[in-house]
Symmetry: C2
Subunit: 786 residues, 2 copies
């Protein structure tokens, strides 16, 4: 379809606010006499607090409260309203022992679909270096820091299980008493009969692949402040992707009614999934409650944020693929060990999600996925851009390359042979592929990088610097359907001049969703962008309900709600115009701020005149608003491919990316410039994932070794090549304006494409990332290349 605003690279609605510094983030807000909270983290990866003496800390002038796990029951009982606490009691929940889950999932009425509740606000048992043992509230940060040092803790140190191997070892101590063998969960799935499929195949090819722990490194660290308002409700302002879920989890952590919590989200400086978790808010609220509800601010330092929020799960995969001589895959058997760290958080969902989204790329008659998610004494892994898919696609797209090499097939051809077709229905999710341009994406990428010429050119290299090209594909999803609820809300209010305000449940966290939604509204209502005013702040008291920003669901899922709201407004405008003109509404449309005849485009009446009438008609006045909720029960599968060209310095192990292109099938692109920005960000993150990033820990003690931005090797702009972004735009019939998701996809395939390019250049297959110089160098030595 031809659109006026959708598909245009309009300026971000928050551009001016952000470049002028006027956009207000959590840290820009303050409450009068706000206190400061600080956390005492465990120095041990696995230890029991035998005794804790806070008397010296409490005695320090300026210290308002010191909290340990012992104080929580008191806080909870004092917080619960009469009636509420009894309700909890009858539900046989011991408020004193209340545990909660932190994962930013929508919640489920089905108890078996809820997240594991294994977290305390403050713990008596440290499960990783950094675990929250005690907290201080003081008049300023310096006093709070001093007070932390005055807390005397005696620990009983236990064996630190710093790897999944150690945790799975028979007789290993249990990190959580109720988890046998330290296994959080192990449910997977099977399609067809994998044993038979492998047996029937001409070849069975095996491979092992491993990814490392990385961290989101969003610009803005976790920060929040909390207080009790004069209505006895808890108010939290926080840098989050999921205000409505923060509300629920804070309430659950205290055992109070959810309606008694109010969460406000100002501008957010990035999240990448780490703010799809409720890391600091329950403790922040407990801090406030400990000082009678006075406002307390809790801000993590970078060092804290890197270990005490969430990380990306490290995975170990074993893959066995049955394939015929013609390159057609019969069956795939994957086992995966996922390291979730000390607490569940998103836990096994990550493995499940990777295993689920992976299925949409190469459907096979047999597929067995056997993941286990294992507790270790390392920082907690959670949601991070891609949510399990960068791991599984690193493994499988490396594996595909290995198969191609083994079978001496063209890596593109073997993929094309196995790629999904439109109309395919996934057996488990029942999601149907309604659009798929992965083949066109591959062709486009192949051309952009001059694949065939370079393939020919880079054959049989020697010397210190060798070049190669590689590619890797991925499939993803648009939101979580049918795994979780996909509820989104939008509210539109039309002003007297025909301009509108747009309120969203979905959160702008830097990705540009506010702009994309405004474009959708402008498109439907026939008004220019400057007439759409997006309320970017979410406030659970008034913002339409939306589960939040994650799972690349905004443009697709929340977009449906936005389109629905805009269509409802349009319908009301046309109904008013009909009352004013007697022209049947179905003959009318809105264009350039005028109600027009749909067919001829002839102007009937100015939108402003209709809007004025909606406010001031003495009989029919009814200001035009819409307040909609949309429960999406559909999913659209986006696809894409990375093509990378690398130059490997054999002597130093340094890998340089010469060219890299991501080509995406994300349906219609609402804002090409923003879309390109998403791709740039995702690919850059993928480059770090492939080549340099890894959170390191002392193997014996579990102590973090590089939880800072100096030692953690996030690629800088100097390390990043020009990134090419291209799109094959075919409208998906299910998405609003034909969109499919694009938020997370760009991170999924760069790592395997780079790995495959390195393989192409050097004939050395790296099955573990990051391929940092040290590891590359060692591997080259091992393989005899140097």
């Amino acid at each position: 379809m031809a659109y006026t605003v959708v598909g245009k690279s309009v300026t971000r609605v928050d551009a001016v606010a952000k470049v002028t510094g006027k956009a207000k983030y959590t840290d820009d807000f303050s409450e009068r006499d706000m206190l400061v909270g600080k956390i005492l983290h465990s120095p041990y990866a696995h230890a029991i607090v035998k005794s804790i003496d806070v008397s010296k800390a409490k005695a320090l002038p300026g210290v308002e409260a010191v909290l340990t796990y012992k104080d929580l029951p008191e806080i909870r009982y004092a917080t619960a309203m009469p009636g509420v606490i009894e309700a909890i009691a009858t539900d046989e929940v011991d408020v004193a022992e209340l545990k909660y889950g932190t994962a930013g999932h929508p919640f489920s009425l089905d108890e078996s679909h809820r997240d594991k509740e294994d977290r305390y606000i403050l713990t008596q048992k440290a499960r990783f270096v950094g675990d929250n043992i005690a907290a201080v509230v003081a008049t300023d940060a310096l006093i709070a820091s001093k007070a932390l040092k005055l807390i005397e803790v005696e620990y009983e140190v236990l064996e630190a299980l710093t790897s999944t191997d150690a945790a799975l070892k028979e007789g290993a101590p249990l990190i959580h008493d109720d988890c046998e063998g330290n296994i959080l969960a192990s449910n997977g799935y099977a399609i067809g009969n994998i044993e038979e499929a492998l047996k029937e195949s001409d070849h069975v090819i095996e491979g092992e692949y491993e990814t490392s722990i990385v961290q989101h490194c969003h610009m803005e660290n976790q920060v929040s402040h909390a207080y009790v308002d004069s209505d006895r409700r808890i108010v939290i302002m926080t840098s989050t992707q999921i205000p409505h879920i923060v509300r629920r989890i804070v309430a659950q952590s205290l055992g109070i009614s959810w309606g008694r919590v109010r969460v406000i989200k100002p501008y957010v400086g990035g999240g990448f999934g780490n703010k799809q978790d409720v890391c600091i808010e329950p403790l922040n609220v407990a801090m406030s409650l400990a000082v009678g509800g006075r406002p307390v601010k809790l801000e993590l330092s970078r060092e804290e944020a890197m270990i005490d929020t969430r990380t990306r799960h490290a995975f170990k995969f074993k893959i066995k693929t049955g394939i015929n001589n013609d390159g057609k895959i019969n069956g795939i058997h994957i086992t995966a060990v996922s390291n979730t760290g000390a607490y569940a958080s998103h836990g096994h969902s990550i493995a499940s999600s990777g295993g689920g989204k992976f299925r949409y790329l190469y459907p096979t008659k047999a597929l067995k996925f056997e993941p286990i998610t294992v507790y270790t004494n390392l920082p907690v892994a959670g949601a991070m851009r891609g949510y399990g898919t960068p791991q599984i696609f690193f493994a499988f797209e490396s594996h595909m390359e290995d198969i191609a090499k083994k079978l001496k097939m063209d890596p593109i051809e073997i993929r094309k042979k196995n790629l999904v077709e439109v109309g395919h229905v996934d057996l488990l999710s029942k999601n149907k592929i309604m659009s798929c341009s992965i083949r066109e994406c591959i062709d486009k990428g192949r051309e952009l990088i001059k694949w065939d010429a370079k393939k020919a050119l880079y054959k049989d290299q020697s010397g210190d610097k060798r070049r190669g090209v590689g590619m890797a594909c991925f499939s993803y999803a648009s939101g979580t359907y049918p795994v979780a609820l996909e509820l989104a809300g939008a509210r539109i209010v039309m002003n007297q001049d025909g301009s509108v305000q747009l309120q969203l449940g979905a959160t702008e966290i830097g990705q540009g969703s506010d702009t994309v939604f405004a474009q959708m509204v402008a498109e439907v209502l026939g008004i220019p962008m400057y007439m759409v005013h997006v309320i970017s702040t979410q406030d659970t008291d008034i913002t339409p309900f939306d589960t939040g920003s994650y799972a690349s669901r905004q443009t697709y899922v929340s977009g449906m709600a936005v389109e629905k709201a805009a269509l409802e407004v349009k319908e009301k405008v046309l109904a008013f115009a009909n009352r004013m003109t007697d022209i049947p509404a179905h003959l009318l449309d809105i264009k350039d701020q005028f109600v027009v005849f749909k067919d001829s485009g002839e102007q009937v009446i100015a939108l402003e005149v209709v809007a004025m009438q909606s406010y001031y008609d003495r009989v029919n006045a009814q200001p035009i608003t819409s307040d909609v909720s949309n429960n999406a029960r559909i999913n659209a599968i986006p696809y894409g491919v990375t093509f990378a060209e690398v130059e490997v310095d054999i002597k130093t192990g340094k890998i340089k990316i010469l060219e890299i292109f991501n080509v995406h099938d994300s349906g219609k692109i609402v804002n090409p410039l923003l879309a390109e920005g998403q791709v740039h960000g995702g690919v850059s993150m993928g480059i770090g994932y492939a080549l340099s990033e890894q959170l390191l820990f002392d193997e014996k003690t579990g102590k973090p070794l590089n939880n800072n931005l100096l030692d953690y090797k996030l690629p800088t702009i100097m390390d990043t090549p020009d990134i090419g972004a291209a799109f094959v735009e075919k409208e998906d019939p299910t998405g609003p304006f034909g969109v499919k998701s694009l938020g997370e996809p760009p991170i999924v395939s760069p790592a395997p494409a780079i790995r495959n390019a390195v393989y192409d250049a050097t004939d050395v297959a790296f099955n573990r990332i990051p391929m940092n110089p040290q590891r590359v160098f060692e591997k080259f030595k091992e393989t005899g290349l140097i």
Copy 2:
């Protein structure tokens, strides 16, 4: 009907916020680097600026801008968006010469129903002492004040017309060029044939009555701040009763689209109608625009607020009443001269409104009302509690007393003979009296004050201290229908625990409307008050549209919207419950947080369970909200009476109120304690109106003589007797829960009741208020009493 929450004296929802000081008023908010604005007021009542030199002021370090009328065109052209300014130009409006009206009326599509546009943001012609000549924006208040003194203005001083008599004199200079004879308007009405009615009457009794200029004296002076946000929109935070109207008027004053203005109203410290006017916001915005949109605060001092906002119109009435021997009135002829001061503001509406609301008390077959509203060189009169009715009822209820005396009839009996009956339809407004308990109110008041005993006791007094009793009745209205639009909006969002947020267009300004609305919602939804969270701040971007708080319209008109919103939520809850239980929704009700069988009250399912389902049902999830607008086209007429007992000190002229009772027919009383508070406030204001308050001006120059709280004699708590409040509660069939208005009514009848009591005590009829000791003493001398 029996209610659970409605009719109970529940605690104000803002009680804790206000007594703890946590409630935030406009002055409690700040923007970074906020500048301060100050106004240069004219020292002359009538003068033309011949020249103005701001160079010295501009040169003062810390001064960011100095504005005069010359700067306004530039500001306006710079502000208008491309497209908008052209639209204005084609409408043949000269932006440079743009005038606007300030009255807080809803706006009308009918041009002839709009307010007179006679105001400039800054003027070249001063029309009262205090008129806005120039403005300064500086980094702090001290510098701004200094800069004001550096502005050099040369005036051509014109004759100051400080009374309506002077303004109406032939040949008087014109205050506004386009107003012949300085008359703003003179339209009145006539019912029947007054000449015939008077001719047919046994007696024709005449009287003249006069009221003075008084001021609202709300605790919080006018204060606002304004800036341009990064979306190029104007944001104003202001202490107002009418945020949506401020939006319109600011836009009109600048000639820009209304949607480009956003108005936020925090807690407000009283308004009494003075904040139903847009006094400072356009200038505040101009100040910000003069400094490139940076935030500027404008706060009036008490001295400024008392002359440069609004006052109550002074009136002079001549009344001629034709009455028969049996006490039945045949016809009334009223002429009224209303002094609107230098600008129109609410202007003639005040006279019209008084003449309109007055009609509902004593319907007669002939009634002629001839008001004229006259410009003078005094501060601008506008809306003030009662809106013209305290004036006309002072006149007419004094007049009724005079008639009773003349005819030697009992003052109560003569009134009862003429009082309206249920079923009466007003010939002009077509409003039908659906409930009326004025007779019961009179009986109750008579009993409370022990009227008959005192009447007997106080006959034939002599001596220095004489006592008397008096009474006076009134009628009012609930909102403005059919004069103006009565649109109100409410939005309710139900949380997962069944608690709700309530968003209102109607503004809490201290009167307690938030509490009353919360009670209505709690009543309909069967939940306790603590589960209703009222969003007390209005923000035109997101708040449902409501014209504002004035005309005693909240409980009745906005209450309709609130009830409608709550009923819609209830309907949705029961529909969900039906889906969950298959019990027909029409058999169900909500009570004590449970969905119950309507008839038996038997519990079916907890509200919380339904609410949870509304959020998390995988198929039917649809969070329960309502966002309604209600266009009330009906009115309910409240009635009431004041009974007062006074002791007059003949030698000093001091009048002491011994007892005073207001008895109200306001339909169902939602919150008796709040209602009593309204009555206490209104009666106290009425006592000041009767006995002590008057803004004084030098007759020759028009200079204010007592525009401060020391010299302006507002009654203190020491001057105020115990005030008795009583209600005759009969539910009006049109109001939500049977309510009628109560906000303004208590101010209407105290003054004439006190006047009549003084008459009873002294046999001296005061036909002019205030009856302050000086005036009483003079009158006693004049009548030979001393």
